[in-house]
């Protein structure tokens, strides 16, 4: 395993061919610059990332960030999917995504407002009845 600088780190190790995390050379804390928390609140796993049009000029970004922009370029991608595709731990992806969000390269869509409390007295999902109904009908129609 090599500890090359991030700049010289090619994106291919994230592909399906990399069969171990050790093969990905760069340690997670290096990718995040030592941070373990993003500046924003923790993004939900299923939050969808959408790349903004002007993110094309994404020079000077780390390979990991560029890779995120690449994966999210043509479709909505969730945090969890990015984590799987990039073979990076969820926490790392969260930090990178919120970095990119702050830099204006992408937006994050979340269905459920963070810290929602619906007053139902339980750790409730915060989903509305109509959403649940759509889900129910959707599953039934599959």
């Amino acid at each position: 395993m090599s500890y090359g600088p991030p700049g010289g780190h090619h994106a291919s190790p994230y592909g399906a061919d990399a069969d171990g995390y050790e093969a990905a050379t760069v340690r997670p804390y290096a990718v995040t610059g030592g941070r373990v928390r993003s500046s924003l609140s923790d993004l939900p796993l299923e939050a969808l990332v959408e790349v903004l049009p002007d993110a094309v000029a994404s020079r000077g970004l780390t390979p990991e960030k560029r890779s995120i922009l690449q994966h999210a370029a043509h479709t909505y991608v969730s945090i969890a999917e990015l984590s799987a595709l990039l073979r990076l731990p969820l926490g790392v992806v969260r930090i990178l995504v919120s970095d990119l969000q702050e830099a204006g390269h992408l937006t994050v869509h979340t269905t459920i407002p963070v810290n929602v409390h619906t007053g139902h007295g339980s750790a409730h999902s915060g989903l509305s009845l109509s959403v649940l109904e759509s889900v129910l009908n959707g599953i039934s129609a599959l």
């Binding site: 171990g20 969808l48 909505y76 799987a84 999902s125 989903l127 009908n137 599953i139």
Partner: protein
């Protein structure tokens, strides 16, 4: 019409779900199933036949009664998928693949536009029409100056070369225009609504299979840890020939539902030391499905405890390996001390229909709880 809502009345949960599982148990896994027609084909017999004497839970009288009387259910579900559900049901078939109702509607109009303009172009410049029709041999001889390469009937030198490439250029140009509207949501400007359901259970109980049986995409997984320290620490439950340097934290899949909804299914990490991740997984989830392997009952205790203590709606699915129910649901319920309000049902992680049914009963439970305003 689809599956009879299995757990309409909590008290009866065992009966109908047994019936649902019965029709399903012997179905080939991943079979494309439309509606519930097929599920109804052989309710009791298969089940009883496959496990003679050992599965009285699904015996005919009990199973049939509730299935025949779903109206007792909360008013919202006469039978899943019938007309009274307005907006959401309608785009159901059209938009499963695409980005939702809007995309589905946009597509036809776009293609109509293509058709509209092609004849229009042809009409204004008749030579183009002539080029497409069998050519008049007499005229083609006149202007040899026109290159007229591929098209045999280039009649008027000035007009002919122009419209022909024009038409050719236009249609490919329009197609990419129509495609993003349908295929790539990124240009559609409305992000899908994401919802999620957590699939819990012990190691190797079939969570990934369960997810895979309904997911649009191959289940993906994320990795949480990357140290060698997990070797010898994780209880692999007898499955020890796993990767040792990486630890798969959780699997997940995605299903696109009509109405621009994306349903994510997250499988919980099987290892105990990842319990801390559950808070993350569960935040904002519709609820949980606890898969139970009756050979290793104790493995699902943490999941049941977790959901129960946090008031998260959950159903218990007894995964029938080999399509055989080894124990009656009541016995499992008693063994696990699952409260009466928690629906239990047989399921088969390999069967899309059974998976669907399990998810449906969970969503129904979540709706009941939301209506009544109580947690668990």
């Amino acid at each position: 019409m689809a599956f009879p809502p299995s757990d309409c009345v909590p008290g009866n949960a065992d009966g109908p779900s047994g019936a649902g599982g019965a029709g399903v148990g012997i179905m080939p896994s991943w079979a494309p199933v439309s509606g519930g027609a097929r599920a109804e084909e052989g309710p009791g017999p298969h089940w009883a036949g496959s496990a003679p004497g050992s599965a009285p839970a699904a015996s005919a009288p009990e199973a049939v009664r509730p299935a025949a009387a779903p109206p007792a259910a909360p008013s919202a579900f006469p039978a899943a998928g019938q007309p009274p559900r307005p907006a959401a049901t309608q785009p159901a078939r059209t938009s499963v693949l695409g980005g939702g109702a809007g995309a589905g509607a946009a597509n036809p109009t776009a293609s109509a536009g293509v058709i509209d303009r092609v004849p229009g172009a042809a009409g204004t410049t008749s030579p183009a029409a002539g080029a497409l029709a069998p050519a008049r041999p007499a005229v083609s001889a006149v202007p040899t100056t026109a290159p007229a390469p591929a098209v045999p009937a280039a009649q008027v030198p000035a007009a002919a070369p122009v419209p022909a490439p024009d038409v050719a250029r236009r249609s490919p140009q329009q197609e990419p225009e129509a495609r993003p509207a349908a295929g790539s949501p990124a240009t559609g400007r409305t992000a899908p609504t994401t919802v999620k359901i957590v699939i819990a259970g012990g190691f190797a109980v079939g969570k990934t299979t369960f997810i895979g049986s309904i997911s649009d995409v191959e289940p993906l997984n994320t990795e949480a840890a990357m140290t060698e320290h997990s070797v010898g620490v994780d209880d692999a439950g007898g499955v020890t020939d796993r990767k040792t340097t990486t630890t798969v934290a959780m699997d997940f899949g995605r299903v696109a539902l009509p109405g621009n909804l994306w349903l994510y299914l997250f499988g919980t990490p099987g290892q105990d030391r990842f319990l801390f991740m559950w808070d993350d997984l569960v935040r904002g989830a519709i609820g949980g499905v606890v898969l139970v392997d009756t050979d290793r009952l104790e493995q699902c205790f943490p999941a049941i405890d977790y959901f129960e203590s946090r008031g998260i709606p959950f159903v218990v699915g007894v995964n029938c390996f080999d399509g055989v129910a080894k124990h009656r649901l009541e016995d499992v319920r008693e063994a696990l001390q699952i409260p009466a309000g928690v629906p239990m049902l047989y399921t088969d992680a390999r069967s899309r229909t059974a998976t669907k049914q399990t998810l449906i009963s969970l969503v129904q439970l979540a709706m009941r709880q939301l209506r009544s305003g109580t947690g668990a």
